[in-house]
């Protein structure tokens, strides 16, 4: 088991954001995290990484209770907004994070080149990130999350601002990672992306309202979009 969330509550001050979440994620799954804007998807992901302490309940990742530094190395993280050093080149950014994840020098160079090629940034590898377009930054952020070959990936809206061709490529890579036993948790607002997930978690009003395969949601509500909309009306 990769993730186990039990009786998890999160509040900021007096505001309760997530209440009583219970779910698990198994090895080799692509799990889609969907829900309206502001429903708490990013909040959940930050807790899974260990950037904040659960207000209540227990969150285990790879057998360790979060927050802990013990599993940080095993998680690849792509934040919703790009967190890049604008003065450094793409290669500089990748090398920095690679080193922080403990990659040895000889391996580091190969990995950096590999992920740069994968996100199609080899040509621009040595340009300062300041000059990058939005999509290029998004691609670099994804490359950073992959550089240390983590078994568990947390991707917060990874395909925003990326052209359709590259999006297809990304999803092919996600699926091939899954074949290699990597587990992925991906947040998205795009329905056809949701359909490609093995399982969907729908969060509304701070609660986990549905957890099931895309087919299950389609059978129950007609379409995934309906599930999204219907629940909101209730």
């Amino acid at each position: 088991m990769i993730v186990s969330v039990q009786n998890y509550h999160q509040s900021f001050g007096k505001r309760s954001i997530l209440t009583n979440l219970n779910f698990q994620i198994q090895k080799g799954e692509i799990v889609g995290l969907i829900g309206p804007s502001g429903s708490g998807k990013t909040t959940l992901i930050k807790t899974l990484i260990g950037l904040q302490r659960p207000t209540q309940g227990e969150v285990h990742v790879l057998g360790h209770q979060q927050p802990t530094l013990k599993v940080s190395k095993e998680i690849g993280y792509m934040a919703q907004s790009d967190a890049l050093y604008e003065d450094l080149s793409a290669r500089g950014n990748l090398a920095y994070f690679g080193k922080l994840y403990g990659l040895r020098k000889d391996i580091l160079k190969n990995r950096v080149n590999f992920v740069l090629a994968f996100v199609d940034l080899l040509k621009d590898a040595d340009r300062p990130v300041r000059y990058f377009s939005g999509g290029m930054k998004r691609r670099l952020s994804l490359a950073i999350s992959l550089v240390h070959q983590p078994p568990f990936l947390l991707l917060d809206e990874p395909t925003v601002g990326i052209d359709p061709t590259l999006k297809q490529l990304f999803w092919k890579e996600f699926e091939s990672l899954r074949e290699n036993g990597v587990t992925l948790l991906i947040t998205t607002h795009i329905m056809d992306e949701a359909e490609r997930c093995d399982r969907l978690l729908l969060i509304q009003n701070g609660q986990l309202v549905v957890s099931g395969t895309p087919d299950m949601l389609k059978q129950k509500f007609g379409s995934i979009e309906n599930a999204f909309l219907k629940k909101e009306e209730v």
Partner: protein, 376 residues
């Protein structure tokens, strides 16, 4: 070491940012040079108008200042209104009447000082003459006494000491020590403090607002390694900056430096470390660069008043209290003692200890603040 990785990145970033390097290395030198020039520009040459002055006094005054003779007091006053003279002096019934312009504090003080010095010399010379004539009188009296009584009385004379002039010498430095010499150590400390604070604060703020701090905290990096990494990275530039400022002040501007160069460097680097730690800390309480700048009049500027540039002997207790809790007090005190008084490590170690205490204190506070963004 994880902190080395962070330090390398900080260095790479600063090196690519030419403006920041320029600001850190050139700006303090420029400001110091400007102050040096401005302090040197105030001359203590004064012009004094004289009315109806005895010739001997005029001669003495001419040795001290530029002298212009006026026929009447009114003419002198007119010239003063036109700011042609800084003071005027006239003699009536053996009494000196002095009129001072009053608009320029340093020139007025200088004029008064010069007139007073002249009058003192005059009095001394007069008393010297009087003592001599008294002595002559005594000799005459004794001669008469001998003639009347037929006996030779013992010789008496008025002691010379009464008429001797005083001589002034300095425990540290000499009379050539000017205002800039006295201010330079404190100014050096202040500018190192100010620029290091600004640059470390702004770059850590950028790290925070761009999200890279949070992204970095999602890696296995420890909180302490981040703060330490920033320390090590910036320290490289701080060392260069400090050596440059020190060389500039001592070797180019020629400020009196009686102390050990290495100890001076040690004090400066500790000062910079306090500023570095404080910059990182205060950036955590700002949401934007503008908010960080707002700390400057609150936290940085007041420290100038406590940096030993001003005499606080008569200040109220609460001022003395603030004076004792701000770091620049201890830095400036140590710098002044080393440069002007030639103090060594043995004399200033309590100050160094306080500065180290500030660094450790701010460092721990930084770690505590970072806990908000990474609980472990």
């Amino acid at each position: 070491m994880q902190s080395i990785i962070v330090a390398q990145r900080v260095i790479a970033q600063v090196v690519k940012d030419k403006r920041t390097i320029g600001m850190m290395l050139v700006a303090p030198l420029f400001v110091l040079f400007l102050m040096y020039t401005i302090f040197g520009a105030s001359s203590d040459d004064v012009t004094i108008g004289i009315v109806n002055l005895p010739e001997e006094v005029t001669q003495l005054l001419k040795e001290e200042a530029t002298v212009i003779t006026f026929p009447t007091n009114n003419d002198a006053k007119k010239a003063m209104i036109e700011q042609k003279i800084d003071a005027s002096i006239s003699f009536e019934n053996e009494t000196a009447h002095i009129l001072v312009e009053g608009g320029n504090v340093s020139k007025n003080a200088s004029a008064i000082q010069k007139i007073q010095r002249t009058l003192t010399v005059l009095t001394l010379e007069k008393s010297h003459v009087q003592i001599q004539s008294l002595n002559e009188l005594v000799v005459q009296l004794q001669e008469q006494l001998r003639l009347i009584t037929g006996q030779t009385p013992e010789k008496v004379a008025i002691p010379k000491t009464l008429s001797q002039k005083s001589s002034i010498s300095f425990l540290y430095g000499d009379s050539e020590l000017d205002l800039f010499d006295q201010l330079a150590p404190a100014l050096m400390g202040f500018f190192i403090f100010f620029f290091v604070f600004l640059i470390s604060g702004v770059s850590f703020l950028k790290e925070r607002s761009s999200g890279t701090l949070e992204r970095t905290l999602a890696t296995p990096l420890k909180r302490s390694s981040i703060v330490l990494g920033y320390f090590i990275g910036f320290f490289l530039f701080v060392i260069i900056q400090t050596i440059l400022i020190q060389l500039f002040i001592v070797n180019i501007l020629g400020v009196t430096q009686n102390g050990n160069y290495g100890i001076l460097l040690l004090v400066n680097l500790l000062t910079a470390s306090v500023a570095l730690a404080l910059g990182l800390l205060l950036s955590s309480f700002s949401r934007s660069e503008f908010q960080l700048i707002q700390f400057i009049p609150l936290v940085i500027i007041p420290q100038i008043f406590f940096s030993g540039m001003f005499d606080l002997s008569d200040a109220p207790t609460w001022v003395e209290f603030i004076n004792r809790i701000v770091p620049l007090t201890y830095a400036a005190e140590a710098l002044q003692n080393v440069m002007t008084r030639g103090h060594t490590f043995i004399d200033i170690w309590p100050n160094l200890l306080v500065l180290i205490g500030f660094v450790i204190g701010f460092f721990l506070l930084n770690m505590k603040v970072l806990k908000k963004q990474r609980p472990v």
